[in-house]
């Protein structure tokens, strides 16, 4: 039973800290909506171009907003010594890093989805794109948190960690980006998007199995 209680303890603590620091949660969202609404000023506002670039902009900006908030998964704990205490706890480190990843997704990944659906309207995208946007984000944002956590653990506490983290993480997001925006685009053209969703689900399962292990290994190296 203590395995579940340890998982819940870390999850509850991180959620509590996140909600007590609401600014840290709101800022990436505001940033997301801000950069996503910059593009119409650049390409003009006629509906056809917005329709073409809409899904791509909404998705790329979601990816950037998620990357922006990755640093907070381990950085605060690394600075104040809590990470060492998590490392020395009786429960396996993989379990505790998974709890931290889930907390990050609930605080920073999930809120991106309503913002993205609002941006759908901003880009005057047809209603047919709402459902694909929702499902691709539901499958994609956990991958941001999972892969992001592994690499945030690798670069925790390094000089220039933020930019280095983005440099390491963005190439790994390309497959998710390709299939997600491809799915939304195909859905708007009335094609079936089962293939893309299956692939996104496969990427999610792969990240779910591998990335907590990689994060635990990376933390063990960084603390060592």
């Amino acid at each position: 039973m203590s395995v579940a209680s340890a998982f819940m303890a870390v999850l509850r603590r991180d959620l509590l800290l996140g909600l007590r620091h609401r600014v840290e949660i709101i800022n990436p969202l505001v940033f997301y909506i801000l950069i996503a609404s910059l593009f119409p000023f650049a390409v003009g506002s006629d509906r056809s171009t917005l329709g073409i670039i809409g899904p791509a902009v909404i998705w790329v900006c979601a990816l950037l907003a998620a990357t922006l908030s990755l640093d907070r998964i381990f950085h605060a704990d690394f600075e104040d010594g809590s990470l060492e205490q998590l490392f020395l706890a009786r429960q396996p480190l993989v379990l505790l890093t998974s709890a931290k990843v889930l907390a990050h997704w609930l605080l920073c990944g999930l809120p991106l989805i309503p913002a993205a659906l609002a941006l759908n309207a901003l880009y005057q995208l047809p209603v047919t794109s709402l459902w694909p946007m929702l499902t691709t984000l539901l499958l994609g944002t956990p991958v941001f948190s999972l892969t992001g956590a592994a690499l945030a653990a690798l670069t925790v506490g390094l000089r220039g960690g933020g930019v280095l983290l983005a440099l390491l993480i963005l190439p790994l997001y390309i497959p998710v980006l390709i299939f997600a925006v491809g799915a939304v685009g195909n859905a708007m053209n009335g094609l079936s998007i089962a293939g893309e969703l299956y692939f996104l689900a496969a990427l999610l399962v792969l990240a779910l199995t591998l990335m907590p292990l990689a994060a635990a290994a990376a933390l063990r190296i960084r603390l060592g």
Binding site: L154, R159, P171
Partner: protein, 243 residues
Amino acid sequence: MLESLYKYAAPQNFYQLSRRLTPWLAGAAALLLLAGLAGALWFAPPDYQQGESFRIIYVHVPSAWMSLFVYVVLAAAGITGLVWKVKVADALARASAPIGAAFTFLALATGSLWGKPMWGAWWVWDARLTSELILLFLYVGYIALQGAIEDRRMAARAGAVLAVIGLINIPIIHYSVEWWSTLHQGPTVTRFDAPAIHISMLIPLLIMALGFKLYYAANVLVRMRCELLEAERNSAWVRQLGS
């Protein structure tokens, strides 16, 4: 056999071995590259369609092969260093990164030099070239991570984790880019690989590929010696080397 191999896992023995091997490897690489060059520029017939510019394949394809080969070596060496704590394997991983990045850049540069006469543009969003570009980002990420961590052993182990994550993602990226390029570009035939290549064209290609491999082996041994000299600065065998 393993014991004698294990002997060379110790930095000191490896250093002597690598000093003995390098001249032979470098000499063989030079010979092969010259032979390959002669074959590529002289003996191999021009392509019936692309004419002389097809000769760029003899440099583009081997360096593309090498860019992937070196990344696999880098990841394998990283794991060996991480799991069995073999210092020489860490040195191999750190030394391979710049060479792999050089090969990847070379593949991209020769690819664009080939694309210009054929498709009129310095950059073509072809699936193979795009995967190569992403591989370059992975290399740059690895080298940036090595630079960001002072402690040599921690840098090597962090690099190993990154290389493994990268290695797992390479086939995924490759498949996604393939799917993406057919989605947007349609099936135009971008002949970057060598489908039905005539034997007289294949031989120089294989000679060049082997030459590149030996060149990598010689070069990585020299870079590994530099790594070991710096990493083992305070150990006795390095001090003896000086006197």
